[in-house]
């Protein structure tokens, strides 16, 4: 399955883990992207409560920007209907389920939270089912 050892994936993953540890150890916060986003959008915050989240988001986008141009080929012509359905499902799902790949998958599992482990199992299974159905029966 793997032709070469995925050292980039491992290194990138270690960076993500380090980022989460930094935020937890110094600020006592979970590096959960969906939670940080929704708190900014839907919670009336002010002062440091708002500003650290803005700083994190600016860093997130800035960190990606510094890595440009990316090594992979950009996808073109993907179905806008799928993109919209995806955005809606990710938005509703991460809000109701209180977290995404980062909050549950990286931070929560790191804390051995049973909720996060259960959530990660659930989104991995439904993600695999979705791609399998999408590729074999629809697209």
């Amino acid at each position: 399955m793997l032709e070469t050892f995925p050292s980039q994936a491992l290194f990138g993953g270690i960076l993500i883990g380090f980022s989460a540890v930094l935020l937890l150890a110094f600020n006592g916060r979970t590096a959960g992207i969906s939670g940080i986003l929704y708190n900014l959008l839907y919670n009336p915050l002010s002062g440091t409560e708002r500003n650290w989240r803005l700083c994190f988001m600016a860093g997130l986008v800035g960190g990606a920007y510094f890595m440009l141009p990316v090594e992979f080929e950009l996808r073109q012509g993907y179905s806008p209907v799928l993109l919209i359905a995806s955005g809606l499902a990710v938005g509703i799902g991460t809000r109701i389920g209180n977290g995404c790949t980062s909050g549950h998958g990286v931070c929560g599992i790191g804390m051995l939270s049973v909720r996060s482990i259960a959530a990660t199992v659930a989104f991995m299974i439904s993600g695999i089912l979705t791609v399998t159905i999408l590729r074999n029966f629809i697209g």
Partner: protein, 143 residues
């Protein structure tokens, strides 16, 4: 001020990690979620690497009375696996599979593939708003 610098640094490292690891490549993510087809297991090393770091350190960090620059830890104390958690996570997995974007890669896509970000991000924000409206009372925003 210290906390803002840490948040900025944490964001920068996270964003760089998403690009370096290729989590920001939606085709690769969909291949990772396709074990019965074009399976590309390499992204397992992203979560593996990240969890290795958090698992190895979180318990030592949490032994402290408080974080270094704040007076307390702000983490979820919930322990029960309830219906909103499983329904929400499952719905999120469906959305993740449909495009290959989870929230982080979806957001940084604004500077990587803005054409797709222009369609995905408004839907993500509207979805979050719908989830917020229909979330049960007391289901505060956590991760």
């Amino acid at each position: 001020m210290q906390r803002l610098i840490i948040a900025l640094a944490s964001g920068l490292i996270f964003g760089a990690g998403l690009v370096i690891s290729e989590m920001a490549n939606p085709v690769k993510v969909q291949n990772f979620l396709d074990p019965f087809g074009h399976w590309d297991p390499s992204l397992a090393f992203v979560m593996g690497g990240a969890v290795m770091v958090t698992l190895g350190t979180s318990r030592f960090i949490m032994k402290r009375k408080a974080p270094i620059f704040a007076d307390q830890f702000y983490i979820s104390l919930k322990t029960s696996i309830d219906r909103p958690l499983i329904i929400g996570a499952s719905l999120f997995g469906i959305g993740w599979g449909l495009s290959g974007y989870c929230p982080g890669p979806g957001i940084i896509n604004a500077v990587i593939n803005p054409i797709e970000a222009l369609v995905f991000l408004p839907a993500l924000v509207i979805g979050g708003w719908i989830g917020q409206r229909y979330s049960v009372r007391g289901n505060s925003i956590q991760h």
